[in-house]
Symmetry: C2
Subunit: 692 residues, 2 copies
Amino acid sequence: MSGLLEKEIQDAQEAVTKQGDTVRSLKASLKDGKAEKAEVDAAIQKLAELKLALEAKQKEYEKTTGKVSAQSKEALRAALAGVLERRMFYIPSFKIYGSVAGFYDYGPPGCAIKQNMTQTWRNHFVLEENMLEVECPAVTPEIVLKASGHVDRFTDFMVTDVATGECFRADHLLEGHLEALLEDKKNPVSPEKAREIRELLASVGELKQDSMAAALQEYDVRAPGTGNAISPPFPFNLMFKTSIGPKGDLVGYLRPETAQGIFVNFRDLLYYNGGKLPFAAAQIGNSYRNEISPRAGLLRVREFTQAEIEHFVNGADKSHPKFASVAGLQPLLYSRALQMGEEKKAQPMSLGEAVEKGIIANQTLAYFIGRTWLFFIKVGVNPERMRFRQHLQHEMAHYATDCWDGEVETTYGWVECVGLADRSAYDLKAHTAMSKIDLTAFEKFPEPRMEEVVKVVPNNKELGAVFKKDQKVVKEALEALDECSAMELKSKLDAGETAKVSASTGQSFEIKPGMVEIKKVTEKVTGKTYTPSVIEPSFGIGRIMYCMFEHSYYTREGDETRAVMGFKPVVAPTKATVFPLVQKPALNDLAAKISRDLTAAGLSNIIDTTGNTIGKRYARTDEIGVPFAVTVDFVSVDGDGSVTLRERDSMAQVRVPQSEVASVIRDLVDDRTSWADVAAKYPAQKAQADDE
Amino acid sequence: MSGLLEKEIQDAQEAVTKQGDTVRSLKASLKDGKAEKAEVDAAIQKLAELKLALEAKQKEYEKTTGKVSAQSKEALRAALAGVLERRMFYIPSFKIYGSVAGFYDYGPPGCAIKQNMTQTWRNHFVLEENMLEVECPAVTPEIVLKASGHVDRFTDFMVTDVATGECFRADHLLEGHLEALLEDKKNPVSPEKAREIRELLASVGELKQDSMAAALQEYDVRAPGTGNAISPPFPFNLMFKTSIGPKGDLVGYLRPETAQGIFVNFRDLLYYNGGKLPFAAAQIGNSYRNEISPRAGLLRVREFTQAEIEHFVNGADKSHPKFASVAGLQPLLYSRALQMGEEKKAQPMSLGEAVEKGIIANQTLAYFIGRTWLFFIKVGVNPERMRFRQHLQHEMAHYATDCWDGEVETTYGWVECVGLADRSAYDLKAHTAMSKIDLTAFEKFPEPRMEEVVKVVPNNKELGAVFKKDQKVVKEALEALDECSAMELKSKLDAGETAKVSASTGQSFEIKPGMVEIKKVTEKVTGKTYTPSVIEPSFGIGRIMYCMFEHSYYTREGDETRAVMGFKPVVAPTKATVFPLVQKPALNDLAAKISRDLTAAGLSNIIDTTGNTIGKRYARTDEIGVPFAVTVDFVSVDGDGSVTLRERDSMAQVRVPQSEVASVIRDLVDDRTSWADVAAKYPAQKAQADDE
């Protein structure tokens, strides 16, 4: 039975491919007048029907065999991609030159959604918290990224086909190979082997170079396609490199994240904020990663928009004054314990409880998890298909205190869209070390306190005698010792030993007893200098958009040829369409007036005066996710002046006075009123228009 | 007299420099608690006073000597730069690493102004004309920029100091040298020489490599600073180069303009627009130019935001349906004739007249000049200090039909902020030639017509006999001839001559009579295929911002220590401040409520509850250009509930009911009402607050 179905699926797929070719050639003919637009539209319609027939077969296959076919996910993805590309949400860049993997252009509706999404982000985070927004260049001199560690460590392991030179990501190859072994029904692996493979699979992302080499060799992984041997894995830096200025001696990179621009400005931002902490800075901008083999559409691209927040806070107190406002939220949390446990499933838990039980490290991190969850819901991600996954210990950088990824479920699996990390004071310390510029903050105590402090008093005479011209350097090195190091030095010297001290010049000096006096004294202290900790929520806008596209796409029961993008009004590229019911000057004029009212209210809108039936016109706007439609008929002109207002998802219609329609839609878009309220307030209209 | 004044100016400058150092060191002390904020603020105040004293001296010098001193321009620039940097409108990037020339970061108010400006641009152009907005990557494969000509020709001439290797822009060096010669009072040049130098100065920008070399040699131009000899000039490509993908064999560049992303998408955009022309596409995004020696702050940077429009139109009809709406505008036009004439001064002229007289090439170009003028006025550029300068014939590319630069007068002279060019069909043809993809449009005639067309019928037998394996190439070359070339060939062959024909392969073939039949026939034609012309308005957002900053900066008579940024409400980073008159819970609560009302109305605002006097608080907000201030006093709480609303530039104050204040400000910001209307409607309040 399922064999027969598989054949049918194959046939259906071929029909889709063939019709796709027909559409393409018709489009070309349209250009030189050899085909009519109607002909092309009909062919596109036919293509959509064939795709649905394919989908139906795949669903049947799933029911019969009890497993989700890879084709089905691909079918959903293909159907969605069809809408997204045909309506120019986004398309591969440089198409006329054959495109380059990992680059996409946003067309008009994609552009509008992206603007709406970043503006919503700005309102939700930057304005709400009075964050300091900055905009820094993408071209970055090497020293900044040397300090941050990107020059040395921002790498993926790469292997090459020894015969063709083709490049692959080592972890992707190994994963694919291991998964194929597990799924191989003809030569099943032993249960022990399967367990070993599964364990290896779970850690592929964290393998060091030698373990990766060993694993690739042990499983005899070969180049896809050719089956050739592959080179040993080697690190490939993912930054795009360039050269700044005419001499060619200043190396620059395209920033791999926007965060560093904020860190290097910490001093000015702190001054701007009147020297007060905590405060947050934010940046929305493009970042660049020269991925080895980009795939999965918008999910892994080489140029992408990030929205990043750096919340600077005294590490000694990471409570958050507004935490109570999110403590009751219950997002799906996938803690370390749940990941290591039997069920391996995220559970809803209130953020208050998570902080109390120590599952989330502190209030500030939890506050941003809560705000992030609200943001995702606001822009149209299904909260039941979103979770926060905690990094396992070995996934985190050594300096990080706690990290959670905001992940969204799609046909590609769980996709990381946001990273929320408590990075301690690592970043500012790294830039201080490289730039020699003090990036600390000063906490002034409400009242001066008497405190025991460690005093380091160098013996100038001794130092001069021994170190001669280096005296000053040694003196500064001693005075720069932190309390711990000073007390350690003291204990050595007290024991009559010598000890080495490093200076900022890179030199090291041997200190003997008598050269310095170290003592604890009690003195009046007005405050304390410290390097602030950073809590970093970092958003990938394109990934969120793609996940939102998948969650928004649906077809109506009984009308499966009609794709609907159920965008939330706040992100929808067009908020309303205006239709004259039929082509009459009086109706067209009123439609134009209503369109002007909508524009004046800041609502993007389109008038559709094509001769198409209302049903067809709705279908066209459903596909680009227009949430509201206004239809102007003779009652609007000759009767009581009311127009029909239709809501996309319920397809419900009400009669609204024309003078009120713009403000009703404005309130709906701004979430000041709900459709239920509108439906209760205005008389319903029978939805006859849809049947035409 | 003027000698004494010059000495005084010098002293005043030294005082400014010294006080600048004091401010810097106090700021450092502030950080570790060794200085108070008030102390720093006082020092900054003192610095501003010293700057003004310097300015006053310079003005006196100007009056006495009758010439504008370079110092005075520099003083204005320095005073403005002080405000812009201190309030973090923008600062040099990567400051803690010593900065890199040509890169700037926007701080919070700069970021907000940039967003307001791009959003105003989007509303004014994209929404108003239903343009198709796109967003394309900055990283661009070489072939795209090879086609556009940037790989071969996007260069500046560079020279190097032969001893130190330092790099300079040849034209800048030559200009500086020639200007110094003209201004040298000790060794004045002869009147003939002066004329020769002035003529050379006027053409420095257009010199070819050999003329540049000759000029540099003739005038013995040397490296600044060292006085060393310089190398001959050589072209330096201004694009940042990188490599895409892991193999390193795909060369990429950071785009030097956003326009190419639109051109390569022409086919998809035309389809999106239902195959109809004219239409315009637009893009706002960052572009990159690796300038040899960036200078002049935001005016010449290496990474900058462009807003570009490509208006595609049939070259046969460049009229514009909305031209009447701008025909009566009278911007300053600096036509070719005025530039070549005696007075060398722009004149106001109506756009209708300019098109009628053939001064501006066509309605569409003139329409965009008019819309651009309105945009500049809208964002706060002084229209009396803005002109449209037509390119002289030798400044234009060979394919361009007409070009006008929108220029704004600043302390740096006239700055090009916008280029408006009729580029004919050059761009699309260039991409067709490189990609072999047809980038034409089809104009369907309302009715099919009988038209005389040229038919080219190759004689296959003859061609085969003579050209053998090249037969196909020759045949295609003949069939690809346009009507003109075909008729030219026909006349030669008819006269018994031979003629050369070039093929797309680059080969050239000798055609003899009998090899091809060329004839005019009359046939039914349904429409015409053509490559659209492009009219391109291209805006540099950072440059417009800087010009706007200079035009917005002023000080009040009798209160010259107080800088005011007179931003138009639509671009102002903060629309309103809210002050409780004194520190009382009831007043603070009401202020907080009004702030919430403003936020709900989409108006960015700040509450100032510092204990400062109202006068000081106004001064702080004047400096960041907040247009409206709301003061809450006891009348607001206990009396009639009205608050004081103050307009920044007139300093006039009115009493407005608190419930109306947000909507009044919203209307003022959106230009739905004027301050005059508000002042007429609400009772005035004596401006006592400013004197406190």
